[in-house]
């Protein structure tokens, strides 16, 4: 079962919710993996302090051109067909791997078999564990190489890892990047349920609307968590609650605004450790997620 944790706006508390929910579920005996899909700025490891077990480079396919086999100037079909300008004709076929989306069209198109599949490094995937030895909490983090523009191939590689042991049969929480464009779409792909984290501010609400549109476009079920509830105290900021009610969107949990919680997060601590009274909210959130999920996914998965 895959649960994505997303938001439109950055800094609303996606990672805080992901790490605490993952740790809480793990401590109740469930088999849990946290997949940190925010590969541009991954932060989950800061809170979970895992022991890293292995690290591997993640690659994306790029063309490798055999100039001796190339038909030459009379053909140039690969250059013509590439939509991303990753191939150019400069006396011979030149490749610009940083522009390549790895679609494979050039290899299909080449009549001479002169293009084979090579690869380039997108970043690294790190596998770690924390918690008890008999039921460890798994963390798999993607880290995009500095200067690399495209994060979706790395996110796809990370989610691919979730298909095999020891991750495949348990609960996978996906800590997603902010926004609504391709990195988010890639991170949400195939999730059974999505938790959208927002805060009761005009920016938080504006970006939540974008996130809701995204989930509706994908046709995937979701609910909302309101973080820092009450932070706009003394002002009538009921707009968020009114809107959620009008749109018939489930509010799965509310986390009250708290200076103590902000300090604990700043220091990189888990809230369920620093403020044990929050544990009940995570338990209630998990109940609400299961209650709101479409039936066929809700049962059974993740039991150790």
């Amino acid at each position: 079962m895959h649960i994505a944790i997303a938001s439109g706006k950055g800094g609303t508390g996606k990672t805080t919710l992901s790490v605490n929910l993952a740790a809480r579920l793990n401590r109740t005996g469930l088999r849990v993996t946290l997949a940190d899909c925010d590969v541009e700025e991954p932060n989950s490891h800061i809170f979970l302090s895992p022991e890293w077990i292995r690290e591997e480079e993640a690659h994306a396919p790029v063309p490798r051109i055999n100039q001796e086999r190339c038909v030459g100037e009379s053909c140039r079909i690969c250059v013509r067909e590439c939509r991303f300008k990753a191939l150019a004709w400069m006396g011979e076929v030149m490749d610009f791997p940083e522009l390549c989306h790895g679609c494979g069209l050039c290899m299909e198109a080449c009549p001479a078999g002169a293009i084979t599949e090579g690869s380039r490094v997108m970043g690294v995937l790190s596998h770690g564990t924390t918690g008890s030895a008999d039921n460890p909490l798994h963390l798999v983090s993607g880290k995009l190489r500095i200067g690399e523009a495209m994060s979706p191939p790395l996110i796809r590689a990370l989610l691919e890892e979730m298909q095999s042991p020891p991750y495949a049969d348990g609960i996978v929480l996906r800590d997603c990047p902010p926004g609504t464009s391709c990195p988010v779409i890639t991170s949400l792909e195939g999730a059974d349920y999505t938790v959208l984290v927002t805060e009761p501010t005009p920016f938080g609400m504006h970006d939540l609307r974008l996130a809701v549109e995204t989930l509706r476009l994908l046709g995937q079920p979701f609910g909302v968590v309101i973080n820092r509830d009450g932070m706009s105290v003394g002002m009538e900021h009921t707009a968020l609650n009114d809107w959620l009610r009008d749109e018939d969107i489930s509010v799965l949990a509310r986390f009250p605004y708290s200076q103590a919680a902000a300090s604990a997060c700043a220091a990189g601590s888990l809230l369920i450790d620093a403020l044990p009274e929050t544990t009940g909210i995570y338990d209630a959130l998990w109940q609400a997620i299961q209650g709101n999920m479409p039936r066929q996914q809700a049962g059974g998965a993740g039991n150790a």
């Binding site: 700025e41 069209l105 500095i146 902010p178 779409i185 970006d207 002002m235 700043a266 220091a267 990189g268």
Partner: protein
């Protein structure tokens, strides 16, 4: 012409709040919002007299089901899972590569231009403004960012303005790189949290990679004194000027609720602070 970009790596550190306050102070300028994916600056700038231009970029596959012979080749070959069972196209996953159209033996797929969003030239009380909205789930945010930057440069020339102030996107990927390349200065907004410091190091690495000078503004400086010291020490070691520190203040939320910048909400407290920051920004080489 000087282009000043406000970025942070981590989201939610206060980029837009600080950009809006800089917009309401300092020299005459053009305002640009390069966070095309989840733009918020317009909620404060409240631009008007907007000219809207559609943004076409890349292509998408269009399927003619009447020609389809259900061979499944397109689904098998697509590397982006953009064709689901039953040869059902999923445009939100389509990268517009054209592979399916190329290999389809029945000629049932063609490629067409893709409307990815729109961009706007507006007036605001802070000056002329260029902003944009990427369509939900769309590609090519980097190209839309580049369009916003090109248009803001044109606008600055038309208005004889020397400074462009840009609100940037979070992260270190494609839209950030498009915002950053060849800009004159990146103001990195951070906060004293483990996460923000971690992300500051990565975004600073990116500014070095693209040889863009950087400076730091430490927001919410009083929420953790130990980590604030770590940020200060790191700036010192890396030789990145720490130009401003702001304490945590509920003025930020209160101003936002009113659609105002900090400088407008409480000028006595905030105007001198941001005028001082402008002085320091403009004094950098």
């Amino acid at each position: 012409m000087r282009e000043l970009l406000v970025i942070s790596g981590k989201g939610g550190t206060g980029k837009t709040t600080i950009t809006a306050a800089l917009a309401a102070s300092g020299p005459a300028k053009v305002i640009a919002d390069c966070d095309v994916d989840a733009a918020d600056l317009h909620l404060i700038a409240r631009p008007h007299q907007t000219v809207t231009t559609p943004f076409y970029s890349g292509q998408r596959a269009v399927f003619d089901k009447s020609q389809c012979i259900d061979c499944g080749l397109c689904q098998e070959k697509c590397r982006f899972n953009a064709i689901a069972d039953g040869i059902r196209h999923r445009p939100e996953l389509c990268e517009g590569c054209g592979l399916c159209a190329f290999i389809c033996p029945a000629g049932a797929i063609r490629m067409e231009e893709r409307l990815c969003g729109e961009w706007y030239c507006s007036d605001s009380r802070f000056g002329p403004m260029v902003h944009a909205a990427l369509g939900i789930g769309e590609e090519n945010s980097g190209k839309l960012v580049t369009t916003v930057r090109t248009e803001s440069n044109k606008m600055a020339q038309e208005h004889g303005v020397e400074v462009i102030l840009t609100d940037g996107p979070p992260g270190i990927g494609c839209p950030v790189i498009a915002s950053l390349t060849n800009t004159d200065l990146a103001l990195l907004v951070t906060e004293p949290t483990r996460s923000a410091l971690h992300d500051l190091k990565r975004i600073a690495g990116l500014t070095r990679h693209f040889r863009v000078p950087a400076a730091v503004a430490l927001n919410k400086a009083d929420i953790h004194s130990g980590l604030a010291d770590e940020v200060r020490a790191w700036c010192h070691t890396e030789n990145i000027p720490l130009l401003a520190e702001f304490g945590w203040s509920d003025d930020c939320t209160k101003a936002q609720l009113l659609g105002q910048s900090l400088v407008e909400y409480r000028p006595d407290a905030w105007l001198p602070v941001f005028e001082d920051l402008w002085q320091k920004l403009l004094a950098l080489p």
